[in-house]
């Protein structure tokens, strides 16, 4: 470790706890991977306890890893395309890197090995010009959002206007956060927006900040998106020069490799310089968010839609990330009720080979059988299949990739990304991963009845969406491919409702 360099860098680092993650990221880039000594030096500088910095450092995947490390994505799509063959002694394994259209994906430092190409359509291809947002009253904007029917594109699908309205009802100062921590396996759409239309995103973000009368705007971006970061910074410069950020303190917060930080309250914890462990709710971020202030958190794509809606040229549509066994993986704008087949044939170059399983909207959205190819991908229609539309990340898995393997990989992902705080998520996901792996060898680690009880406990008692939703794909798989689970024994008979 270069002690002089460290001293110089430390001197420039702010001492507020909210800057801890940022400081750690900078130390990693400018001095080296965070060692216990570096951690302690930063703790002393920031007047934090050594353990605080140790806890935060170890929570994230990348802080103790060199910046030029080789990172191999082993998300389900990459795994299905042989990513694990690329793991050699030095490479580290990371969950979905958000470049599923290019699977299998390897990052060398910040660079995507083999370069990045885009396959897309619609507004993503239009010129990313800088426009001054229209001057509208807060009520007008909320009313127009309400009229548009826009819902959040991050996964939960909550009506956007309601969130805005809820934050507006709380006393200021208020905060707006752009959730750019895209990490749901198979999801690439936010990266497409940030790399192709960063100014459009900022337009939506600035509108949000003006409408809720926020004084601070943050963009929480995952560390792996180096290109998006550069383009956002350039776009922010343009905005600043154009005077559009006057009175609005704006900053980029860079993550450090933790899927859970995409969860709103985990993100808040992360931004406040603590481990990204979700908070207990209530209170909700709209009431008490960043540093206890009313906070509006919107997904990247959602804000792009907001900008388009207020420009007045929006038709209800969303961005579909399509990857896996298709001809032209990419990110496509299509209607909200498109079917899988329309999406794959009409945009993504058709199926390659015979599909075995299709994930409609990210890891927690569930798993569909090929029989569902003609179902519209709406919340209502998918509910009948026990699935959700999630973040609209369609992943097509070929026959050669068994649904059991898909399920095992999915549960492994949840297990590794669990923040560990609550029992059902920390232990349930690991147990289910183990159950799937044992099934691949024809063995039963638990009985079907016990698995069902554990799934119930996960759904009902997990603190956040990660643990609550993780059981979906398992239940789907029980239903669609019962033969794979035969070793677990029969499903428990529903007890008749008591009189």
């Amino acid at each position: 470790m270069d002690v002089l360099r460290l001293a110089t860098v430390l001197e420039t680092m702010p001492r507020e706890r909210t800057r801890l993650l940022d400081n750690l990221g900078r130390l990693r880039r400018e001095v080296g991977p965070i060692t216990p000594e570096l951690s302690d030096a930063l703790a002393d500088h920031m007047r934090l306890r050594h353990g605080d910095v140790h806890e935060v450092t170890s929570f994230y995947s990348f802080l103790q890893v060199p910046v030029d490390a080789v990172r191999v994505c082993t998300g389900p799509v990459c795994d299905s395309r042989g990513a694990r063959d690329r793991l050699d002694g030095h490479a580290i394994e990371v969950p979905c890197l958000g470049h599923c259209d290019l699977a299998p994906v390897v990052l060398h430092g910040d660079e995507v090995v083999g370069g990045v190409t885009y396959s897309t359509n619609g507004f993503l291809l239009e010129p990313d010009d800088l426009r001054v947002p229209p001057k509208l009253s807060s009520d007008d904007v909320v009313e127009r959002l309400r009229g548009s029917g826009l819902t959040g594109m991050g996964g939960a699908g909550f009506p956007t206007w309601r969130k805005w309205d809820a934050v507006l009802r709380e006393p200021g100062p208020r905060v707006v956060i752009v959730n750019a921590d895209e990490g749901e396996p198979g999801t690439i759409k936010d990266r497409y927006v940030m790399e192709l239309r960063p100014r459009l995103l900022l337009e939506g973000a600035v509108i949000a900040a003006r409408v809720v009368e926020a004084t601070e705007l943050y963009i929480y971006l995952r560390e792996e998106y180096a290109t998006a970061r550069a383009r956002l910074e350039a776009a922010l410069d343009d905005y600043r020069k154009a005077g559009l950020l006057a009175g609005l303190a704006t900053s980029l917060v860079i993550g450090a490799g933790a899927y859970i930080c995409g969860e709103e309250t985990a993100m808040l914890e992360s931004m406040e310089g603590r481990r990204g462990m979700p908070r207990l709710r209530p209170p909700f971020p709209a009431q008490s968010g960043y540093l206890g202030r009313p906070t509006l958190i919107n997904n990247v794509e959602t804000l792009a839609h907001v900008a388009l809606i207020l420009r007045g040229d929006w038709q209800p549509a969303r961005l579909w990330s399509v990857s896996g066994a298709v001809g032209k993986p990419g990110c496509y704008e299509a209607s909200l009720d498109v079917t899988l087949r329309e999406l794959i044939d009409g945009y993504a170059g058709g199926l390659v080979g015979e599909p075995a399983a299709i994930v409609p909207g990210g890891a927690a959205s569930g798993i569909l059988p090929p029989a569902a190819l003609d179902v519209p991908l709406t919340r209502e229609a998918l509910t009948e299949w026990g699935c959700g539309v999630g973040s609209a990340a369609v992943q097509v898995f070929p026959k050669e990739y068994s649904p059991l393997r898909l399920l095992a990989e999915t549960m492994r992902f949840f297990a590794e990304e669990s923040c560990q705080k609550c029992t059902p998520c920390r232990i349930g996901n690991r147990a289910l991963h183990h159950v799937c792996e044992e099934l691949e060898h024809g063995r039963a680690a638990m009985s079907r009845g016990q698995v069902e009880e554990w799934l119930d406990a996960m759904t009902l008692t997990s603190i956040c969406g990660l643990g609550q939703a993780a059981p979906y794909p398992v239940r789907n798989a029980f239903e669609r491919w019962p033969e794979l689970f035969a070793p677990l024994g029969p499903a428990p008979v529903e007890e008749p409702a008591s009189a």
Binding site: H50, E55, P424, M446, Q450, D456
Partner: protein, 350 residues
Amino acid sequence: MIEFTLDGRPASAQEGELLVHAAARNGVFVPTLCHDDKLEPYGGCRMCVVGVEGSPRPLPACATRVIEGMVVSTNSNVPQLQKTLTEMLLSEHLNADPGGRPNELVDLARELGAEAPLILPDAKREPYSDRNRLMGYEPDTCILCNRCVRYTQEVMQCSALSLEGRGPEARIVPTWERSWLDTECELCGGCLSVCPTGAIYEKFLEGAGVEERQLEQTKTTCTFCGVGCQIDLNVDPETKRIVKVTSKPEYVSNEGDLCVKGRFSFNFVHHPDRLTEPLVRGEDGALHPASWEEALRAAADGLKGVIRRHSAQAIGVLASARLTNEENYLIQKLARIGLGTNSVHSCEAT
């Protein structure tokens, strides 16, 4: 007071009271593992979830405050959830008793009839060894309730333990896996006292087969500073030796907290250097063992001799803050009317 409904019966609670407390006062015991009244609500273990009307999911009673009209249920699916959560914790609980401390998880499992349906293949954690001689830590007993770490953060506000990593790798270790002797740890053992499973324990009891529940506890007052911490001396009924020192949250002066001296400095009581015989200086100038009769006579004669040769005013008596009020009272009485001098004082006269 506010009114709410608990398992179909009317109940009352204080404004802002935690559900777990309100339930207990109304006769409903809700099990907890990660909760400690000293610490901020955490809601991690989920053992205390209860049904609350209007909430799509059960809520943790340790972190939910009662509000007027709340309808709470601890029957329906709650017992099954408690049992499943206990099974989950047992599935990575590889060592139930590293150091003789009570294990609340094992107690709970017995009560709920819960057994681990499987042992997780990654349950085994990296063992932790530490050259300190006071506190041991068995990671395989830890249930990650984080009470110990939160104690260091919220109560001691020191940096001794960290919750490290996430997912299957998550574990609790002394900060950066150093020896406790090399962290800011003050060896107070507070982490040990809040651990519900005995994963942190008195190291000198490791493998001794001494179980806390079998020890005789005598409540007394600590001897190390003016705070007057109330402590329990835990005595092995066979050897009649102090085996460890504990305290309880309900003790007023210290609320169950102790410092390194109070918790760990008791071996001096049984130290081989303890004086066990009276000694009298002989003609040869050396101290020799003597009977009590001889020693007391020598002491009295010596003091009387000084009074005779000089006066009572030539005698100084130094009492001690080590002694009880009763002893000091008798000492000053002895000085004043036994020896005839008011010159009784002590080194702790400040």
